[in-house]
Each structure stands twice: as C-alpha cells, then as structure tokens.
C-alpha cells in the first residue's frame, strides 16, 4: 500500500508538471493583450516599462523558466497583472476558502440527498417515487443555474425578505448558494445511484442472497449499497475541484467573493500569472482527490487488488 501511494504521489507531480507546462505555453499562444484593461493605449515608454517589470518582454520559454524557478524554489506564483500589487498565492488562498463553504456544504448535501433519492427510486422502480425522483433529476439538470438562483433570490430575498440578496460574511449568505449549487449534484447522484443499484441488483450474488432467504432490507444494506456507490466515487473527483472552478455564475449572482470569478476572468483578462495560479490550484486539487478516491477504491473493493 505504502509503495502504491508513493508511486502515485510521484505520478501526481509529473501530471502537475505537464499541466503547468502545457497551460503556460497554451495561454501565451492565444491572442490578447494583458494590459488591455487599462482601456486606452499606453504611452510607448510606459508600456515597455510594464512589459519589462512583468517579464513580458522576454521570450515565452525564458518566462517559463523564470516562473518554474520561482514556483519550485520559493512556491511563488507571482503578482497579478490585472490587480497590481496582489500576490496570486494570497488571492487563491483567500478566495478558495470562501468558495469552499457554499461549495463544500452543497456537495455534502447534494450527495446525501442524491444518494437517498437514488435508493428510493431504485427500490420503487417504475412506481411513483421513481417518477418523482426522475422528475427532480431532470429539473436539476435542465433548469439553468442562473434561473434557479435568480428565482430563489427574488422570492426568498425580495418578496419574503427572509434572506439577504447578496453579500458575504454571515451564515444567511450561504443558504441560497448551497441550495442552488446542490441541485445539480442531487440530480446527478440520484440518477447514477439508481442506475448502479439496478445493475447490482441483477448480479448473481444478490440473487443467491435472495434465494437463501436474506431479507430485502439486509440484501440492500449488506450487498447492494456498497457496490452501487463505488462507481459514484469517480464523480466526486470532478466535483470537488468544481467547487472552486465551476461556481462562477452562482458566485456572481449572490456576490460571493470566491475563486470562480478569477477562474473565468483571469483568462478573459489574459492575467497570465493568475491563469497559471488558478490552474495549479485546480489541477493539484483534482489530482489529489483522484489519488484519495483511488486509494479508497482499492480499499473498499476487494476485487481491485493493489500490486
């Protein structure tokens, strides 16, 4: 096991290295001026000084070497081009911790409710509970997030005035984002859990158990659930990093100072240092969660043996 983990951590670093390198060169190859937010044409001399200061006057590969050196030796991601004076690392940490709250809660709530609904649907296949779950699932996927967010904001904050419209800092600010963000997760898990459970319930060992007279409850509890959840863990990998990278719309509508904003806007602004920063963050998280899931997988499923 220890050997497996060490090997995987080695892989992790290689993957991260490739991601960072690829992103670095890709982002420099797309057109766009990182100083465009200054709105008007900067005087020539000013522009040159700017480029020099941020090292943009050097070739991409030179910039890459400098960046890598700073990253590896000092863990330094540099300073934002768009927000002068702000360290990328600080921005990432501050904003990620904000995104983690509604995102993390929504993920937990979404998974719990989704799994529950999935089980209900699978056990009542083609009966009304199944249809209701299916309806929720379809709603959760087809209703665009911005619609749900705006409607909830309008009714709960403007009409009923029970929750604040936008802002950050108190628990009330988190309620609506959590509801909105968990909606899609609920739908996804409900659907997958149902499908997997039905798969598992057709397996020989379940039939054997039933034939031996094990009660339905016990069959579900002892055999079906675990085997049905396992494949769903793969979903978790994307969703954990999605907390930080995919919450742009919800953060915008509810005024949450999270990371989603930087993830989208840094690319539009060609804020190179911030692009790389968000990429490093998201990729590291992604790879790490992947590792955790893989380890969990191999522990929980006896059929997958770790060499």
């Amino acid at each position: 096991m220890a050997k497996f983990i060490v090997k995987r951590i080695g892989y992790m670093l290689v993957t991260l290295f490739i991601v960072v390198t690829a992103t670095f060169f890709l982002m420099h190859s797309i057109p766009g001026d990182p100083l465009a937010h200054m709105a008007r044409n900067l005087p020539e001399q000013t522009r040159e000084n700017y480029y020099e200061k941020y090292g943009l006057d050097k070739s991409t590969s030179e910039q890459y070497l400098i960046f890598m050196k700073n990253l590896v030796t000092k863990g330094d991601l540099g300073e934002s081009l768009r927000y002068p004076g702000r360290e990328v690392t600080d921005t990432l940490l501050t904003n990620a911790s904000v995104s983690a709250q509604p995102g993390g809660l929504a993920l937990l709530a979404g998974i719990a409710i989704g799994i529950l609904l999935g089980i209900v649907a699978a056990l009542n296949k083609n009966r009304w509970p199944d249809y209701i779950v299916m309806f929720i699932a379809i709603l959760g996927i087809t209703v665009p997030v911005f619609v749900l967010a705006s409607v909830l904001q309008y009714f709960l904050s403007v009409k009923l005035m029970v929750l604040p419209t936008t802002g950050w800092g108190s628990w009330q600010n988190v309620v609506l984002p959590v509801i909105v963000l968990s909606f899609g997760t609920i739908a996804t898990y409900a659907r997958y859990v149902k499908s997997n459970m039905l798969d598992v319930m057709g397996q020989d060992y379940i039939l054997t158990a039933e034939a031996k007279g094990v009660s339905k409850l016990n069959v579900v509890k002892k055999h079906v659930l675990k085997n049905a959840f396992l494949p769903c863990m793969t979903l978790l990998v994307g969703q954990v990093s999605g907390i930080f990278t995919g919450s742009f719309v919800v953060e915008k509508i509810f005024g949450i100072p999270g990371l989603g904003f930087y993830y989208i806007n840094s690319i539009n602004d060609r804020d190179y240092t911030m692009i790389i920063g968000t990429t490093v963050f998201a990729a590291a998280l992604f790879v790490f969660v992947q590792l955790v899931v893989d380890i969990a997988y191999s522990i929980m499923d006896p059929r997958i043996r770790v060499k």
């Binding site: 083609n126 396992l230 494949p231 993830y263």
Partner: protein, 315 residues
C-alpha cells in the same frame, strides 16, 4: 495394455444384429427456442417497454417540428420587428417574440436544429471515445492504465476556456465541426473515468477471466463483454450529457466560438432570455422546455435501452 485388451475383447463379443441404423436426427442440435441475436433481442424488449416507446414518439414529434416548424410559423427566424418587441404568446406569434421582435416559434425550431445535432452528436462521440478509452485503460491495467489516466488528468486540468479559445484561433472557423471538436475534446474524459471505474470491477468477473483464458482478443473482450455490462452507466451518462452539451454550446457562444449569428440554438435562446426572464418568462420557458423534453425523452428511452441492452436482464 492388458486392460485395453480386455475391453476390445468384450466389445468384439457383441453380435452385429444387436445394432440397427436409425439415420441422423437433424433437429437434435437445434435450440429449443428460436435463435435471437443480442441486438434483435434488445429491440424486442425495447418495443415491449411502453414508456420508452412514448419517449421515442415525443422525440419524433420534436424532430418533425425542428424540420418543418420554421416554415409553419410563417415568419423568418431572423426578421427584426421594432413594433413587436417582447410580445407574449398570441395567435400571431405562438411562442411570442423576443427583444428584437423576432418570432420565437420560428426561432425555437430553427435553434433546435443546431442543439439536437450538438447535443446528440456531442454526447455520443464523447461516450464512444470515453468508453473505449476507459475500457482499454481498465482492461490492461498496470502501466497502461497509469499513463492513460494521467493523460486524462492533464486534459481535465488545463483550463477549458484556454483550449476552446485556442481551437477557435487555430481553426479560424466557427463551423459545427469546430464546435463539436471543442466540446468533445475534453468531454469524453469524464465518461472514460466512469467507465474505467466500473470496468475495474468487471475485470475480475468469472466470464471475463474465462474469455481471457480461452484466448479471446482483448479488444473483443472489451467490446463484447465489458462494455455491454457497463451499458447502463454509459446510457445514463449519454442522457445526462445531452443537455450538458446543449448548454455548453451556449457557453461557447459566450466566448465567441458558438454558433454564429444569425443562426441560433436553444442554449443561446435560453441565455438570451436570462436577463429579463422575470418579465418575459415565456422567452426562457420555450427553449428550456425543449431542452427538458429532449432530455426527458432521452432519459426514458435510455432507461428502456438500458433494460433492453443489459445482458444480465436478458431472458
């Protein structure tokens, strides 16, 4: 040696008269019930599923309107009318008009052409590529699996927006093909991981081990045994991905790579209606309804297909 002699001796002692020729029984080896192939059996079972069949009919109706709807409406889908801005549904404009006074009935169906193609093609391409990729990784395991999965991780970790912008710059075209490439380039990764997860479980199943022992080619094992047994999950993924692709296309429009005006799509219509949906909910409702209907019918059809294609449920 001695034992053998004994047996032959005794056999030789039976007289020839005791044997009669009864001819060949031609039916002896025939199966007791009609021979039904995997796919034919699946189709038979699908036909029996009323819900799935209803879904198929809804889909056909949608396709009908997508083909003929714009003509039925009597309006050009791109015709701007300053005097008919934001009018609700009426006898003149069945689905109302948008903020430039364009007829929404014509627009919704016109948009459906793009969305249906993108949604289905995108989901199918991603699923096929993803399943095969995930299957290969899971089947071979070890170093192959490691490398293949690291490639997926890399692809998923590079910011999507950068890749999309890059594609638009490189190809310098905004065709449907470019869009599909942009959409599916990383779209298959999720399914690949899902399928791999499932297949790792299947790999140690007895029938796979048996096929392996009998020397069946790996690709055949993946295609014949492992994928059919993951089909349930793949179909769920496809039906889930269809609205995903329809919305992603809207996102591509947002970064300037999506379907180019005057052409439009459901995702584009829905996001156009976003700002003012509180005042003109119908502008959002119709495209959203079409997306939901498409997804609903695919889900139900998918469920039917799943039951039909699942070898474990075969009778």
């Amino acid at each position: 040696m001695m034992v053998n002699h004994d047996v032959t001796d005794r056999m030789e002692n039976i007289p020839d008269e005791k044997f009669t020729i009864i001819g060949i029984d031609k039916d002896a080896e025939a199966p007791t019930r009609p021979r039904v192939g995997y796919w034919r059996d699946a189709w038979r079972r699908l036909k029996e599923n009323k819900v799935a069949f209803a879904a198929l009919i809804i889909l056909l109706i949608l396709v009908f309107f997508i083909i003929f709807g714009p003509a039925i409406s009597g309006y050009e889908f791109e015709q701007i009318d300053a005097d008919a801005i934001n009018k609700g549904p009426s006898a003149e404009h069945w689905f109302g008009t948008d903020d430039l006074g364009r007829d929404l009935f014509a627009r919704v169906w016109q948009a459906g052409r793009v969305s249906i193609i993108i949604g289905i093609l995108g989901a199918v391409i991603a699923s096929v590529v993803g399943s095969i990729y995930g299957g290969i990784a899971a089947y071979f395991g070890g170093a192959v699996d490691d490398i293949m999965m690291r490639i997926v991780e890399v692809l998923l970790s590079i910011p999507y927006l950068i890749i999309v912008i890059l594609i638009s710059v490189i190809t310098d075209s905004k065709s449907l093909g470019t869009m599909l490439v942009a959409l599916t380039l990383t779209g298959w990764c999720g399914i690949a991981r899902l399928v791999r997860g499932q297949m790792l479980q299947l790999k140690s199943q007895e029938y796979v081990l048996a096929a392996n022992a009998l020397g069946v080619a790996p690709i055949k094992i993946i295609l014949k045994h492992m994928i059919p047994n993951t089909i349930g999950m793949i179909i769920v993924a496809i039906t889930f991905d269809i609205p995903g692709y329809i919305f992603s296309e809207a996102f591509l429009s947002y970064v300037g790579l999506g379907i180019q005006p005057p052409s439009t799509s459901w995702g584009a219509l829905a996001s156009a209606a976003q700002q003012n949906f509180m005042f003109y909910p119908y502008q959002l409702m119709f495209p959203a309804l079409m997306i939901a209907l498409t997804m609903l019918s695919f889900t139900l059809l998918g469920d039917g297909l799943r039951d039909a294609l699942d070898p474990k449920l075969r009778k």
